[in-house]
């Protein structure tokens, strides 16, 4: 294959990855399921999730309970929106924002030497703090969320252009 042909096929792959409707559907359902799964333990054990949020030491103690309840249900609502295909752009922007927030929170804890439990998918304090693994998981989730946002925004723009 010539260099020109390879460049063309690379461009077509990039174009597919940045514009595919079927990829958008797969990503929004996939990310939506991840957020629903992540929310289950937080909704069932909001008190234990509040303990984990307290350990992050980012929020003042006075508002930790409210923030824990809110965050657990934001994940539920975002998951439902993405799976149902309702308000996808807004939901995609929010899941990206949340993924960034999780990574910043974990990184702050990590740089301060706090071996805390992520609270990402489980509220069980468990045996060992796995901050590095949690960071990798959240990194992959952020990648999927950013990709989803790009596809959702482009899809909305294309549909607006088509309508015009």
């Amino acid at each position: 294959m010539s260099i020109k042909a390879a460049r063309m096929s690379f461009r077509s792959i990039l174009h597919y990855l940045g514009n595919s409707r079927s990829l958008l559907t797969m990503l929004r359902i996939g990310v939506g399921l991840v957020f629903i799964y992540a929310s289950i333990d937080k909704v069932v054990h909001p008190d234990q999730f509040a303990e984990i949020m307290e350990d992050y030491g980012i929020l003042p103690n006075a508002v930790v309970n409210l923030a824990a309840l809110w965050l657990a249900w934001i994940e539920v609502v975002l998951g439902v929106c993405l799976i149902a295909g309702v308000w996808v752009k807004a939901a995609a922007l929010m899941v990206t924002g949340l993924a960034v927030t999780f990574i910043v929170g974990l990184s702050i804890a990590f740089t301060h030497g706090v071996g805390l439990h992520c609270g990402c998918f489980s509220t069980d304090p468990g045996g060992d703090a796995r901050t590095w693994i949690s960071l990798w998981q959240e990194g992959l989730l952020l990648l999927a969320c950013v990709w989803l946002t790009v596809l959702a925004v482009r899809d909305g723009t294309r549909r607006t252009t088509d309508a015009v």
């Binding site: 909704v43 909001p46 008190d47 234990q48 999730f49 509040a50 303990e51 949020m53 307290e54 103690n61 006075a62 508002v63 930790v64 309970n65 409210l66 824990a68 309840l69 809110w70 657990a72 249900w73 934001i74 539920v76 609502v77 975002l78 929106c81 308000w87 752009k89 807004a90 939901a91 922007l93 929010m94 439990h117 069980d124 304090p125 468990g126 045996g127 060992d128 703090a129 925004v153 909305g156 723009t157």
Partner: protein
Amino acid sequence: MRAFLITILRQLPRIAGIAVVSLILGVAANATHPMQLPLLVRKGQPGLPNWVSERLKHVDTQGAIGLVNNSQVLVIDTRDEADFRREHIPGAISLPYHGFSAHFPRFSASVSRDRPLLIYCYGTSCGLASRVGKRLLGYGYTDITILHNGIAAWRAANQPLETQEEFNEY
């Protein structure tokens, strides 16, 4: 970049809508949840419902000395296992907060629900004892006392500490 910012601005009402709906659902779910967390923590610690705070008793070191010497009372160390191995209050058993779910089945099988328990953790701001106390209340234990300021206060009062690698039997 500009188009991206415009998209965010256009989506702001929907983002606010998702945030408000989530907040309403969270508050409503909490009202029907057995834990019923106080929405704003005025005193005490996050994750601790008022009914748990009311049922957990607290003692200072002087009060704890009598409890430690009472063979009916089971003293529980909620710190990490490595810290327990280094030193602990004489006769204490290890039930670490980090690893509670792994240790609890054996604890539950050995300790009766009506046995008086004295729980402690690291020190001044440590809430691990209350967290473990909450879980034990949830599992039906009824007589739970927290040592105020934990092992730090015990050490400051020049009370004896035990050092052993082996764990005490329940």
